[in-house]
Subunit: 202 residues, 4 copies
DNA sequence: TATGAATGAGAATTCATTCAT
DNA sequence: TATGAATGAATTCTCATTCAT
């Protein structure tokens, strides 16, 4: 019947969708959330507008997917760090360094996430999904905090709250990392981690 | 024809402009940044679109002014706290509590600021102005940090960097405060301030 | 405060709205229902697309208004005929002649009405409104039928049903009146009315 | 490779084309005329868009074929009724009952036909074809009328005109039969036929 | 023959801005 | 100064049609 190869078709489809999502994140990083038009995304992906709509129902869905993939990815990375064979403080350092790395577009991603949660026009399901994934992603960080408390190297407190503060701080700093006009104050990962560290007695 | 009073005219003008700016912030807090139209602002201010354009050159200028007033205001408040007659840690507490108060629309303001800095369509002058005011506003906080270090109650480090971390943390937390789907983790001002506090010897 | 004349403004507004609605009917008569674009309407009315949207919320609303005005108008006309001082059969003749007059765009209007009622995309309220007005407009015709039955000049039967048949016949014929390729069969008002007439005994 | 059978191939082709046309009518009955997309038709027929284009040149052609088959079919049915061995009035009754049967999608078909004739975008050939078939289909009905006149059971008049009125009435009533908001007036086939009947002397 | 990916023109709608009154 | 009508560019989304596999 069909002279096509369904399996290959499926793979191609998957690949193109990912390509479009990557392009979407890239332009959103430059243009900002809802200011990114489908045109912009299509141009970046070097496909036509129609093609974008061939793969995604709406602009809405693209944003939703970008966020989902990004948060899921981040969650996986953090979980991997949490079970590494190093000191808890070192784990925090890895997370902070990765997130704040100059090359990353995390600042764009963070803004994207918060703007989506804020915007009146974002559908409730998406808001809830974002918040839930964010909350779930706090877990691995919280477990690092607990581990550090047990070892006496991380300050005492509610582990989830501490994780919340840590992540919020990192995200807050990330957003200062926007291009063009960066705040002229250096960031020092050791000093940041130091805030969560139990100081040795002299 | 009523005789004109130039001084009163000027005051009236000032008052209406402020009214429009207040209305603008109010709707932007609900609708999100650039999704707020001039129509929305005019409706909120109960004036016509034409009137808005009498007082402001462009939508651009309104945003710019909202940000300028907001940042200036914030700067004044922080400066006032910095010279209060209380412990440095207490000063930080006051700043944090005020900023994170449930009633505030600081989350909207923070997003507004970051989105503006991020957006390609924001003119460079505005971006620079925002960043400069942000940087300048770090000063009073840095002086609090220095004061605390001198007294041995605040952790050692570069005072401006510490201020940067403190403000970023507060802003990062603020953005978790968006309505509808708040992250289900409590915020505890004492615990937050605790991160910057030198712990007593046991 | 306002150097404008509100009353005059209101009148102008009313006039422009009517002008746009007239233009809308005119183009819909040529292009057909949902095939008429706002562009078409704007061009016909010699205003910009934006202006059309200044006066009407949506294409939907324009169609809805065209139908409402048209049906209301028709209802008024039929009611006026119903109370004229002539024979019942003569009243039917007047209605039929008016409706089938070559110059009228009733055929367009009729199609418009039925297509709207048929289309899946027409909101239920509009469908109900159309149907209700149609039903209400049967009343005057039914009263003519009753009058004729009392006088023995119109065939016996349920007056509302008879009215329904009469109107449906007229509308059915109207739709044959589309331009370009008219059905090559003459219409004779007397013969049509004859169907509802009690034939004299010889 | 299976040996080809040209005759069987042709039959298959014919069968698939008919299947697509049937599906087309089905969806058009629900979605309304030009609001039906090729996608809709393909989905209903459970084939791909490409396949539809294998069998038909354009959307235009599909509509054209649906109408042609529908009108031809109707013509055949009416012609069959015309030569049945029953009273002329009974023949009219059969035609009316069939056409107005609740289950039929004639209302969709009727709208389809009229909208096509009306639309600016319908090519002239199609318009002419529709009108010609419509006109030709009046013949069998006209012959029924003539038969009735000869027998003195159907009112006198031009037989083709009478047929025209009869068919227009039926079509007019059909369009009141749209789903969702039917006009709340009963239809009585006997009463309808009665309009064309010569009344007995008292 | 069958598929569905790709395209681009066109539709509805929004909105910043201008301008006559 | 105040108003709101008018404009047209930009945006999202749809869809007929083409084409490589």
């Amino acid at each position: 019947m069909s002279p096509r190869n369904p399996e290959k078709d499926r793979q191609m489809r998957e690949k193109r969708m990912q390509h479009i999502l990557d392009s979407a994140l890239k332009v959103m990083a430059v243009h900002g959330f809802q200011l990114t038009s489908i045109q912009d995304i299509a141009k970046e992906a070097k496909v036509s507008v129609g093609t974008v709509y061939h793969y995604f129902e709406s602009k809405e869905e693209i944003f939703s997917e970008v966020l989902r993939k990004g948060q899921t990815n981040y969650g996986r990375n953090v979980a991997a760090v949490a079970v590494m064979e190093v000191e808890p403080l070192q784990k925090l350092r890895v997370i902070a360094s990765t997130w704040l790395a100059a090359s990353s577009t995390n600042w764009a991603f963070t803004i994207l996430m918060h703007t989506a949660r804020l915007s009146k026009s974002t559908p409730p399901e998406l808001k809830r999904a974002i918040t839930e994934r964010f909350t779930a992603n706090l877990k691995p960080v919280a477990s690092i905090m607990e581990e550090g408390m047990r070892q006496g190297t991380i300050v005492e407190g509610d582990s989830v709250q501490l994780a919340f503060y840590f992540v919020s701080l990192i995200q807050g700093l990330t957003m200062q990392r926007t291009p063009d006009y960066e705040v002229p104050v250096a960031m020092n990962v050791d000093a940041i981690i130091g805030l969560f560290e139990v100081k040795e007695q002299r």
